[in-house]
């Protein structure tokens, strides 16, 4: 099952990964804070729609996303 893992401590909450998912809104901003005070993004995929295209990861300036397929 394709999936992504977001390193929330590396994430700076920029949101660039949230606008490019071809499956809609699998990557969203979280309501929590990380230890630096950023709101990291989160992976929300209850229906297992992720195709592992890595578009989200490609946008990340902080290389906080790893993609598995």
């Amino acid at each position: 099952m394709p999936r992504i893992v977001i390193d929330v401590e590396r994430c700076k909450g920029c949101g660039l990964c949230t606008q490019v998912c071809p499956k809609g809104d699998l990557v969203q901003m979280s309501d929590e804070f990380n230890s630096k005070g950023y709101r990291p993004s989160k992976f929300v995929d209850p229906e297992k729609k992720c195709i592992g295209c890595a578009f989200c990861a490609n946008m990340c300036p902080d290389v906080a996303i790893t993609v598995y397929r």
Partner: protein
């Protein structure tokens, strides 16, 4: 029972990118460009023979992020340093990483002469239309009407002249071999950026002359925008003045690309 298919990592930090947190602001595309350069270095297997030259500007600490040998140049002097290194060690892959203030203001002289001499070096040029590091002053590439801290009512071309289009300028010089403009505002542009950086390094390795990849980039902090707004502003404003495309691809480069 069907065998569970083993999970593979299809995207992760490239080897040539240090596993550290950068100092860049959230959403700054400097980070994406660093990663893409590192991916190309991995793909070409040149980590041990590559030397980067860091500029003065926000990317002044690039040597802490890209895992190759690195030197730090005085403001604008990256191409002079790169020229010396490459001439003494022609077997190395030497690239400069420079912002618009570094390359197109204080370093214009070095740029034009390195290009016209046809030095076998590569420049990655980050055009974010502003001086990021020093607090958002006007750069040579600031758009007409663009508000910066030194043009609070917008760049007045009567007073401050017009923005420099680096690719167009450098492509007129005989020594330049591969001069292209890309961006990084979506995954498809990032893919094209990666292909261009790869070609630029290959042009250098084949000794075909000077190569430069301009990246139309952003500076959410000094543009006064969220990262997502900055990518929209980039597309709506910068691309009209700085069209993406290939400005110079010498025949020798076309032949090389056909072979690859």
């Amino acid at each position: 029972m069907s065998e569970a298919k083993e999970e593979k990592i299809v995207f992760q930090r490239p080897k040539a990118l240090c596993d550290v947190v950068t100092h860049y602001c959230p959403g700054c595309l400097h980070g994406v460009v660093h990663r893409v350069i590192a991916e190309v270095i991995d793909d070409l297997g040149i980590q041990e023979i590559t030397v980067g030259i860091a500029p003065v500007g926000c990317s002044v600490l690039a040597y802490n992020y890209i895992a190759t040998d690195f030197a730090e140049a005085a403001h604008g002097r990256a191409l002079a340093m790169a020229t010396g290194m490459k001439r003494v060690h022609p077997e190395l892959v030497v690239f400069t990483y420079q912002g618009d203030g570094d390359l197109a203001a204080i370093g214009t002289n070095e740029l034009i002469h390195a290009a016209t001499r046809g030095e076998n070096i590569t420049t990655i040029f980050i055009n974010n239309a502003i001086y990021g590091m020093t607090g958002g002053q006007m750069a040579p590439t600031t758009l007409p009407g663009q508000v910066t801290t030194s043009t609070p009512t917008g760049r007045d071309t009567k007073l401050a002249g017009f923005p420099i289009r680096v690719c167009e300028l450098v492509s007129t010089l005989e020594g330049s071999a591969y001069i292209v403009r890309r961006s990084a505002y979506n995954p498809s542009e990032i893919r094209k950026l990666k292909a261009a950086i790869k070609t630029a390094f290959q042009v250098q390795m084949a000794g075909l002359g000077y190569s430069l990849v301009e990246v139309v980039s952003n500076c959410p902090t000094n543009w006064g925008m969220t990262p997502l707004e900055s990518l929209k502003w980039l597309q709506e404003n910068m691309l009209a003045y700085y069209p993406l495309g290939d400005y110079k691809v010498k025949d020798s480069v076309k032949e090389l690309m056909a072979k690859k």
